[in-house]
C-alpha cells in the first residue's frame, strides 16, 4: 500500500480546496478526486448548534484504521479524513473525506465506505442545543447508518 493517509481531529474548520490540492499537486497519475463534506443542518431554525464530543486518541486511531482499510480495498492514491469537534453552528462543516484514484469507481466507493464507517465506528457524539435555549439531548444513532455499513461486508 503506497497511499498517503491523512487523518485529523480538530476544532477549527477545514479547507476543502487545500485538502484536494494536497492530494493532487505536482502529480499526473490521479484521474479522479471525490470529496464528501458533512454539514450541520439547522432543522428549520430549531437548532442553535451541535456540540461534538469525541474520545481523544481513539477518534484519530479509528479514523486512521478505516482510512487504511479503504486504501487496502481500493486502488487509492491518497485518502484524507478530517472530523471537527466542539460547538458547530448550522451551515458549518462537520466532516470531510477526500479520496484520490486513477479511476472514478474506486474514488467514489472508497469515499462512501469511509463515511459509512466513520458514522458508526469513529467515537464522536452529537448533542443538540436548540434555538429556544433548551437542550435537544444527544442525537440517537440511526439504524440506517448501521445498514449502510453492512453493505460493505
Amino acid at each position: 500500500m503506497d497511499c498517503p493517509v491523512t487523518v485529523r481531529v480538530q476544532a477549527e474548520d477545514f479547507d476543502l480546496a487545500a485538502e484536494v490540492a494536497a492530494l493532487t499537486r505536482g502529480r499526473t497519475d490521479v484521474g479522479a478526486v471525490v470529496t464528501f463534506a458533512g454539514l450541520c443542518r439547522g432543522e428549520a431554525g430549531t437548532l442553535a448548534a451541535l456540540e461534538l464530543e469525541h474520545y481523544p486518541g481513539m477518534a484519530e486511531e479509528e479514523m486512521g484504521r478505516v482510512a487504511r482499510q479503504a486504501a487496502e480495498r481500493w486502488p487509492l492514491q491518497g485518502v484524507t479524513a478530517i472530523h471537527r469537534h466542539g460547538r458547530i453552528a448550522p451551515g458549518e462543516n462537520i466532516v470531510l473525506v477526500v479520496t484520490a484514484s486513477a479511476h472514478r469507481a474506486a474514488a467514489f466507493a472508497a469515499a462512501e465506505f469511509l463515511m459509512d464507517y466513520l458514522k458508526t465506528e469513529a467515537p464522536f457524539w452529537k448533542k443538540e442545543h436548540r434555538a429556544d435555549g433548551t437542550s435537544g439531548g444527544w442525537v440517537e444513532a440511526k439504524e440506517a447508518d448501521d445498514r449502510a455499513k453492512e453493505r460493505w461486508t
Binding site: A59, E61, K119, E121, P123, W125, K127
Partner: protein, 83 residues
C-alpha cells in the same frame, strides 16, 4: 483501572473519568458494566440498558465478553453519532 465515560454515559455517571479497584470476580467488559451499575443511582441509570452501552479497551472497540485483564483504560459510551 482507569475508566472513562463519554456523552450521556458521562453525564449520567456525573464524571468524565475515574480510577477504580475492580473486584477479583469481575473479568469481562459486561461484568465490569454490571458491577458499575451496583455502585449507586447514577451508575444504575448510566448502565440501565447494558445492550446500548458500548465499550473500548485501550482505545479499541471491544465486545461485552472481552476480558478486561491487562487493560490500562476502559471506556463506556453510547453508540457513535459522528460524521
Amino acid at each position: 483501572m482507569k475508566l472513562v465515560y463519554f456523552a450521556w454515559v458521562r453525564e449520567r455517571v456525573g464524571k468524565p473519568e475515574e480510577t477504580v479497584d475492580v473486584p477479583a470476580g469481575v473479568t469481562t467488559v459486561a461484568e465490569l458494566a454490571g458491577w458499575l451499575a451496583t455502585r449507586g443511582e447514577e451508575y444504575a441509570y448510566a448502565f440501565e440498558n447494558p445492550d446500548v452501552v458500548r465499550a473500548a479497551i485501550d482505545k479499541r472497540h471491544v465486545r461485552p465478553d472481552t476480558p478486561i485483564a491487562g487493560a490500562a483504560e476502559i471506556a463506556f459510551f453510547p453508540p457513535m453519532t459522528g460524521g
